[in-house]
């Protein structure tokens, strides 16, 4: 039996052929090393993210998340729900707090869930993978598995918004969270000074307000270069995609020459744990990361 077991909530973007499928590849490799067993919540659904408010309202949004809680609890009793997507984690955690806070909302949620033949008996804990790493393992334990330290590689730890605000990782500071830098350093890499580490990438507004979002992404990328970083690393699928894929548009608009890879912490960890480039999902980068590929086993 695996050392630690969790009810896994991968989220829409981590599915096969979706925008963060390489994230999932690397998470699976990382978990193998750490002896973590992730069991997908059967038939899980979308969390609604933080953008669906126009038509989602409150209760419909909360029952979507509650359905996942009920399915996790029924099929994987006693296991914490673990999300890898920042928005999934935030959406689910927020719904859990709201439902627990209001007996009216709890009653309404149960009544709606009944329509799908479900109910919440025990509310599971909702955690982000970064929390699992930091709290259940700790940096010392994470460091013990390093076989291929990321010596000499310089990373800008781009935390972004939704693993950091409004909940954040326990004990962290909203303005200057350190957990990502510490993961980088634990893996043997160098975390450069980075003054845009909690700047918003525009989130979903990268679609609807591209000029505003790209102005922010420009700051995020520029600061990484200013700090001497060779790569950006992030815990969030939307941060990853936005900061990576719009660099071409930004170059055209601002005359910059950005071409910096944007990776997930789990990709760094997979390589540091002795995994191959393929196991780390490095073939899923739109901007390839040759320096990381070069040291991969």
């Amino acid at each position: 039996m695996a050392k630690r077991q969790y009810a896994f909530y991968p989220g829409c973007s981590s599915q096969k052929g979706a925008s963060a499928s390489n994230y999932l590849t690397s998470v699976e490799s990382m978990c193998k090393t750490l002896d973590i067993q992730l069991t997908e919540i059967p038939d899980w659904n979308c969390c609604g993210a933080s953008i669906s408010y126009a038509e989602a309202g409150e209760l419909p949004r909360h029952v979507m998340n509650a359905r996942n809680f009920a399915l996790a609890e029924a099929n994987l009793p006693g296991q914490d729900i673990v999300a890898t997507c920042a928005a999934c984690w935030l959406g689910a955690k927020e719904s859990k707090e709201r439902i627990e806070h209001s007996s009216q909302l709890m009653a309404d949620t149960q009544e709606a869930l009944k329509e799908a033949g479900l109910q919440i008996k025990v509310m599971p804990e909702i955690r982000h993978m970064a929390e699992v790493l930091v709290e259940d393992f700790g940096f010392e334990e994470l460091g013990r598995h390093v076989k291929n330290p990321l010596q000499g590689l310089k990373f800008a730890g781009y935390v972004g918004c939704q693993t950091n605000r409004p909940f954040g990782i326990a004990g962290e500071n909203f303005e200057n969270p350190m957990y990502l830098d510490k993961i980088v350093e634990t893996m043997g890499g160098e975390a450069v000074p980075y003054d845009q580490k909690v700047t918003c990438c525009g989130g979903a507004l990268a679609f609807s307000e591209p000029d505003k979002a790209q102005a922010q992404i420009k700051d995020i990328v520029e600061a990484a270069y200013d700090g001497g970083a060779e790569m950006i690393v992030t815990p969030c699928p939307l941060c990853q995609a936005n900061v990576e894929i719009y660099q071409g548009h930004i170059n055209k608009k601002y005359g910059t020459k950005f071409n910096i890879p944007v990776l997930y912490y789990s990709q760094l960890m997979t390589i540091a744990y002795g995994g191959s480039a393929k196991e780390a999902g490095l073939n899923g980068q739109v901007i390839r990361a040759p320096k990381l590929e070069a040291i991969a086993k």
Partner: protein, 214 residues
């Protein structure tokens, strides 16, 4: 009577009360002390700024500026970065109030019609709830082929498609965009259960808020 007129009559000139009862987290609005930290912390309140940044909206609600608030494009500029929430000295859940105001304006038919984020929001939820999971391909195509009013616009779709061509090719090459998703793609098994559950949730929410059903 339209939903908007009905609410305007019900709350007469008390817009603050209307917000407190109808808008998610609206009961917090009166706690704002007008310090402006939210507005200074908002990433989209620059280049250029919101028509009315959050603290201004809070004062306008208290001043009864119903029409100006609900028809404003401001709330739709929220990126859900939650900076305002964590920095607010009075701990107002500002992000949620902005989403709540946008939802209420949309519900009453007062939200600006030409507002790209309004359509993004609508499209995301309908895409997610149709099968239970987001189909990234049809969601992106929906964004490109619908104009700011939510109508199909082939010309705009092709133009945006060309703009995004390199990005799409990059994602295709990286196997992070699957053209076969057009035929359905990932979905939940119990879609019937999800739809029944959501219908019930809408009915309960309308009842609780005393809103029109349907």
């Amino acid at each position: 009577m339209s939903a908007n007129q009905e609410m305007a009559v019900r709350y007469k000139n008390n817009f603050l009360k209307e917000v407190e009862q109808q808008v998610e987290m609206g009961e917090w609005v009166k706690m704002c002390m007008q310090c402006g930290v939210c507005s200074g912390s908002c990433p989209t309140n620059f280049h250029p700024g919101w028509e009315h940044p959050p603290q201004e909206i809070f004062m306008m609600i208290r001043a009864g500026k119903r029409e100006e608030v609900l028809t404003s494009p401001s709330m739709w500029m929220c990126t859900s970065c939650y900076n305002c929430i964590v920095r607010c000295p009075r701990k107002l859940p500002i992000t949620h109030i902005m989403h709540g105001l946008a939802e209420y304006a949309y519900e009453l038919g007062l939200a600006p019609k030409v507002q790209p984020t309004r359509n993004l929001s609508k499209l995301f939820w309908s895409n997610a709830t149709k099968t239970g999971r987001i189909n990234e391909l049809t969601f992106s195509l929906g964004m490109y082929f619908k104009d700011a009013e939510g109508k199909i616009n082939i010309g705009q779709g092709i133009k945006k498609g060309l703009e995004m061509q390199k990005v799409a090719l990059g994602l295709l090459k990286a196997k992070r965009l699957n053209p076969f998703e057009i035929f359905g793609g990932h979905k939940c098994k119990d879609q019937k259960g999800i739809h029944a559950m959501l219908a019930k949730a809408y009915a309960l929410e309308s009842k609780r808020k005393g809103r029109h059903v349907g």
